[in-house]
Amino acid sequence: MTRQQQQLKRFVQFTHLHVPLERDVFTYLGACFGIGLAVSLLLITLVLLLTTPVRADGMPDSIQHGTLFMKTEGSSERRETPLLHTDVQLKITGLIARAHVTQTFRNDSDTWVEGVYVFPLPENAAVDHLHMQVGTRSIEGVIQERGEAKRNYEQAKQTGKKAALVEQERPNMFTNSVANIGPHDTVIVEIEYQQTLRYDQGDFRLRFPTTITPRYIPGEEPGGCDDGDDDAAPEESEPGVSASAEPAIVNTVSDAARITPPTLPETIKINPISVHIDLDAGFPLQRIDSPSHAIVVQKQDGRRMNITLADGVVASDRDFELVWTPQAGSVPQAAVFSQARDDGIYHLLMILPPPAGTSNVALPRETIFIIDTSGSMAGTSMTQAKQALAMALERLRPTDRFDVIEFNSRTRVLFGSARYASLDNLQSAQRFVAGLHADGGTEMAPALRAALDGRAHHDVLRQVIFLTDGSVGNEDALFELIQRQLGDSRLFTIGIGSAPNSYFMKKSAEFGHGTFTAIGDVKDVRARMSALFEKLEQPALTGITIAWPTDTTLESWPRKLPDLYAGEPLIVSARSATGSGEVSIHGTRGLQPWQATLPLHGGKTAEGVDVVWARAKIEALHDQALAGLDAAQLRQQVIDVALRHHLVSKYTSLVAIDVTPSRLDTDPLHTHNLPVNLPAGMVYSKVFGPLPQTATPAPLLVLVGGLLLLCGVIVRLLATMA
């Protein structure tokens, strides 16, 4: 008998002996287990003790600050980046706001720097002036074609002249480049813009964005057409050009580098901002409030008011929002504002259709909810989105059908096809929603494709409700997808978070024949959702057309008028030669026709109506490009109107250049991209990802396992020999 056989025999005898005595077996197994456990614990402790010194010796002093493409807190790179302070002065008159945004760049370093600051503005801002303040001199910016402006700026930069260049990246995102800021010097850049205010359900709303939610750049890499060449940037391929051939969804964002400024973690707040508003509402006000910031309201003479931030200066980490409500009945149902210029008379028309009186609750509805669960939604945004969705689910009636779609890097559909809002189905939806958590990318296209089926539904009202922060860089591709796939569904966007991409949210809703609602804070969820339900449950005014006075030169924008939901006014601008005649407006609500007539002349005169018109024209041209307008034609038409009206557009920029050089050729110039704050409530590591855990327990397992095995074998051998 070999030793092994002996062992085996002993083992068999051993187990055999003890089987009948149950109590003994348990005591015995317990004891064995105890011994085993004790030995393992001992070993693990030993291993940990042995390994800890290794970790401690691991070059703790060599942790570096500021390396090539990495920054750690306190790195020198950050000290060299120019500091920025922004001051916003807003003058509001009726429907129009004019803003002076003053950006002060301070260079605290000993070198010459160029600061490049990507900043947000309201999605309908028309930027029309630029001043650069150097010492006591003020240099006025000129409007030029984008390529030309960029060349002039670059030349000034090379020759040591101070210069500022404002370029448009998106209708709500601009870049201000400031060259040759001297050591310990300050350059002040003032940008002026105008915007039309939103009047909705009896409230006027103003949003001033202060930071940029990091944009997700989906899918494939850029086709290499744009390698940062100055002139190439504005002429990137328009999705509309290839619209005739069935396009594989264009997921490229060729200007990705221009719309992704560095973003700071939530622990650091920079770019302080102050806000002063001079409000002349034109009506007696019932209420004025800011859902986003604490404000101080001072009454001036008559109805004018001064509004400032209670805290004076705040971190630019969320949109500033101001809401004012005129007293009931004080706002006229229709108004015309006019401005005479040498090239014609400009008009701005506002008409508020009367309330519907009926509801479409009787119609069977199919509601598809899409909820964005990407990393940028992590934090307070997710709480808001979940609450809003839960509220919307409660509102469904048993005869309604519904489905829920969530997406981040992947799309997940709850049912697959819409189901009745039975108690069971609602419960599983509420569980689904409660279990959602935010992480990963923002691949929006598959989710939209899943929700929009491109079909007509004659027997049912199909509404798609889309909750997102809109933080994507491929807006145009998505607009195109919405237009193509919409069918007769209606897309309602709900903007979530402290700095949603309002441009994307508003235009998506427009292309989706729906409307946009913003929720900036958890405490607003109930009120804003109720306002949306009102719109969802009343028939919209559709098929709106305007008959203008017979005037061959009359040009009105937008041409394609949006559908109007409860409490939304129609706002349209026109340029005419004579400024006389009558305008009649037709539309249909449910099955009821609606019509209104008003005279063009005799309205109030107002400033800035021409800018509203030009801005509306540029926006409409871009919309036409998505529907197939030739890219070269679009570019030329936009340039024409933008140059005439001194507006920054996708193809035109404002540039201000000092006359005398201030930097010597021998001094080097360093370029810094100014970082922006992470919007309040967002979680940095969810957006940019934490560094992953990059070690497996395999070495530990192998070591401990091996030692235990060895130990066990030795002990058994010793026992055998004894």
Binding site: D57, G58, M59, V704, L709, C711, G712
Partner: protein, 190 residues
């Protein structure tokens, strides 16, 4: 005699436990190696034009690049995403960083004890090679190696040229996972 039996049985349990742990550890190593074999096929299909090829039906990742270190005889398929599930099978590309070989900053992480063990022997100016999904090979030169604290670092996402940063846990010979330090290697396209 009785005590002897007890000791003997205890030793047996310890042996079994040891074998289990050892097996578990070996399984992690084997998974890292075997997955790479399975990934070869998925990579070939990717190169022939298929998109987001799942290497096995239940995979939640797909190959995005192939990384070679001629000096150390390393040739691995890089996967999309850098969650723990992905890193068990291969180096993972960080979603949101530039795609490998694209202009910008591409971040790739892997375990120090499997796919990126070789990083401890990489020296400055050494060459790394990266193949993208179109089959093009790009060459990179190592310009920097650092040890950083994982909780206190941010990476540039936009760079003027194609930059590649490889990340793994540090120190290389530590046994316990979950340490705060990272070995970070940056290479620029040649």
């Amino acid at each position: 005699m009785n005590a002897c039996k007890h000791i003997s049985a205890g030793a047996l349990l310890v042996t079994v436990l040891g074998a289990l742990l050892l097996g578990n550890g070996m399984y992690l190593y084997a998974k890292a190696q075997l997955a790479q074999l399975l990934l070869q096929n998925a990579w070939q299909r990717t190169l022939s034009g298929e998109q987001n090829v799942k290497p096995w039906p239940w995979a939640d990742t797909w190959p995005v690049a192939r990384l070679r270190s001629p000096a150390h005889g390393i040739d691995v398929i890089v996967l999309a995403g850098d969650s723990g599930r992905v890193l068990a099978f291969g180096p993972g590309h960080h979603f949101g960083s530039a795609l490998p070989t694209q202009t910008g900053h591409s971040l790739i992480s892997a375990h120090r004890d499997t796919h990126f063990r070789f990083l401890q022997n990489v020296t400055l100016n050494e060459e790394l090679q990266l193949q993208n999904t179109r089959g093009e090979w790009h060459r990179y030169r190592v310009v920097e190696t650092r040890v950083l604290n994982a909780s206190n670092v941010e990476f540039a996402t936009v760079t003027q040229q194609s930059a590649l940063t490889l990340i793994t846990c540090y120190p290389f010979d530590a046994l316990v996972p979950g340490g705060p330090q990272r070995f970070v290697l940056t290479a620029l396209e040649i």
